[in-house]
Amino acid sequence: MVIIGAGIIGAACARECALAGLRVAVVEADFVGGGATAAGMGHIVVMDDSEPQFALTRYSQQLWRELASELPADVEYMACGTIWVAADEQEMQEVRRKHDFYGARRVPTEILDPRALYEAEPHLRPGLVGALLVPEDLVIYAPCAARFLLRQAQARNCDLHMGTVKGIREDGVVLQDGSVLQAGTVVNAAGTWAKELTPGLEMRPRKGHLVITDRYPGFVRHQLVELGYLKSAHTLTAESFAFNVQPRITGQLLIGSSRQFGVEETSVDNHIIAGMLARACQYLPELSRMSAIRCWTGFRAATPDKLPVIGKCPGHEHLYLATGHEGLGITTSLGTARLLLDQLLNRAPAIPLEPYLPGRVMETAHA
């Protein structure tokens, strides 16, 4: 089989398939982990916008936890947990709803009253009403994780080809230089570029900005996210900001997050950075005096229902898709790889795979 793209998704698929004994070739146009994977925050987080989103994020998170002891130091695995911060009574209701939802599905969580919250995170602004701690959420450094996954594949049964795929054919893929890599199965894991190779895929790039600070060890101990995040992540229009701050193993703070549709340039937009940081400073006032060393941007591959596309492409016997992971691809990479292999081997999946099948987001399928 040929996998197009060595982002975290392509790398995870390559590992899964190679470990299962398939012969794999991965084609990468730039370098391993250099696409959206290099831009993302690396928060391995369980989310509950929908049942299928929950199922895949939780399943994947368990797989990351199983892998933890094998991860090299540069993957910067940190079991810091997430704290969902509630600013008012309405958000506190959301805390309780989440607590029940996760509890019913055996994800440990803990409701923090203000005292417990400030004990856990003393630098948060006063006046917050409480929070939900999700202790099993974690943080990794995604580019090195992608490299690790691919190296595991390479150690078994996988070759990495540096080159650009120009087109997908019945018998494999054609590269930019005209050469053909033959394969019985092709997996398009080209992230936001997947559309160029598989037209008709309903997927839009959704831009995000991030800022990293100098080192302030211990200032923040958990990934901190506002519950307003839900409101802003849901809007499929215009631009939105949310408080989302992550501690790195280096002591640096990674500050997100923004979401924008309809913007193609990779350049940093001061207006977005300003809005995002202003939001972050509202929650962590001392952040304002800290030193910001770099800003960057990345694109999430967003489907209309915000679920990834995993499985056989309608109308093609040999072509599979593994893309459309929006803001959760680092989390869901390992689950995605399992579900892909389940389909290839006709195995029973651990979670229902129907919600992720490509048919629902193929324009031709609707026509």
């Binding site: 391993v32 900001f241 300003a274 400073c281 952040l287 304002s288 005096r289 910001a292 060393i293």
Partner: protein, 425 residues
């Protein structure tokens, strides 16, 4: 909310190039300002001069003092707020600097090359140690080895000696043959020749070894000795400091952020020192390392041109031409020899911010890949130190500019929007 000022001509950098540019501009147009991140003007060379009244700088400072140029000191331009607007940060906050014409005179910094032991305490930049001596670090009786390349080594050695240090020797990596060709040129520039002769007098008795470079810095807690190499011979010299620098690197980051064309590490300019971006000029070291005289002439040309007096600028073209030829000769004379690529070992740190050794960089194919997968250049200096070394060692293209071009306070990035603060959803 940030303050906003507007200028006909805004000069970034208050070194010789910036001062000359501001003077010429202000003689023709009313609203001129210089923004510089240091508390005082002067740039690398004039900033801490003890007695400006007797020197060339005094003439420029006096000329500047007679003009209504606004000096915005202690303030660093770090991003663009929109077309014709820069944002700058100071201790007190951020300000927006709007301009009709912009002159970038952002100078240069020292280039460092890694070799075993270069991160030991008391291994310093030649210019850096000189600056420390000026600001009061006592040099009396200290033994110093000066090593690397470029005319700066001599200037630094002379100054350190005046401060009471004992210069053990000066190790210049360039060959004697290259330097002889260069000195012939020196003779054609009487002012430079005089400087050179003055330096030589000040350094009388100090060994100056060509084709010689530091192979390792040695010591337990801090530097104790330097191992030097010359041809097949290596030997150790005991010392308190190693003052080391491998010529200069133009500061092109702000120009690149504004979209100005940068080629081979230099900002591209036309005859009137205009960059590839309309209304943005550039003068001094960012257009190529040329030294004080060339910086002054380029500054004047840029100042005249930005103030709408191209004829006055043209009058200086001939002088600039001569100085540029001289600069090109200097580039050739002090070009880094390929053997220096083998100075660092696999375990020698290249990136000091993130502790990345050369061996880990070699696994990668590009600067971006190496950065993302090793964290090289991702620390507070953002590659300002290691990127020029990596460019030389591995031949990679190291350009990658994003705002802020310098680290700034988070709050400075929240107030960079002209008009109302952004609405929060």
């Amino acid at each position: 909310m940030s303050e906003r000022s507007e200028f006909d001509v805004l000069v970034v950098g208050g070194g010789p190039a910036g001062i000359a540019a501001a003077c010429c501009a202000a003689e023709a147009t009313p609203r001129v300002a210089i923004v510089d991140d240091n508390p005082a003007l002067g740039g690398q060379i004039w900033r801490d001069e003890p007695a400006p009244s007797t020197s060339q700088s005094a003439i420029w400072y006096q000329r500047l003092a007679r003009l209504p140029v606004q000096i915005i000191a202690g303030t660093r331009a770090f991003a663009q707020a929109g077309p014709h607007i820069l944002v700058a940060e100071s201790e007190d906050g951020v300000c927006e600097l709007a301009f009709r014409k912009l002159i970038l005179a952002t100078g240069a910094r020292e280039r460092f090359l890694p070799f075993p032991g270069w991160t030991l305490p008391n291994v310093m930049g030649a210019g850096g140690l000189q600056a420390l001596a000026r600001s009061g670090l006592t040099m009396r009786g200290k033994k110093i080895v000066v090593a690397g390349t470029g005319p700066l080594l001599l200037a630094a050695a002379a100054h350190l000696r005046q401060s009471g240090a004992e210069i053990c020797l000066i190790a210049e990596q360039a060959s004697r043959r290259h330097l002889i060709v260069f000195s012939v040129r020196l003779v054609c520039h009487s002012s430079k020749l005089q400087d050179a002769l003055a330096l030589r007098r000040e350094l009388a008795g100090v060994p100056y070894l060509t084709s010689c470079w530091p192979a390792a810095a040695q010591g337990k807690e801090k530097l104790e000795s330097v191992m030097l190499r010359r041809g097949a011979k290596t030997w150790s010299v005991d010392c308190d400091y190693l003052a080391c620098g491998f010529h200069l690197v133009p500061n092109t980051e702000l120009a690149a952020l504004l979209g100005c064309g940068v080629e081979q590490g230099r900002v591209r300019v036309d005859d009137l020192q205009q960059t590839t971006v309309p209304d943005v000029h550039c003068a001094g070291e960012p257009t190529g390392i040329g030294g004080l005289e060339l910086s002054l002439v380029e500054g004047q040309i840029a100042g005249h041109a930005a103030a709408g007096a191209p004829d006055a600028a043209r009058g200086l073209f001939a002088k600039r031409k001569g100085l540029r030829r001289f600069a090109a000769g200097m580039d050739r004379a002090f070009a880094l020899r390929p053997q220096l690529r083998s100075l660092p070992q696999a375990d020698t740190l290249v990136c000091r911010c993130e502790d990345v050794p050369l061996g880990r960089l070699r696994e990668h194919s590009s600067w971006r890949a190496a950065k993302l997968l090793t964290r090289c250049g991702m620390g507070p200096c953002q590659g300002r130190v290691c990127a020029p070394a990596v460019e030389f060692l591995l031949g990679w293209n190291v350009e990658s500019v994003r705002p802020p071009v310098f680290p700034v306070r988070v709050e400075s990035l929240t107030t960079t929007v002209t008009g109302a603060p952004p609405t929060l959803s």
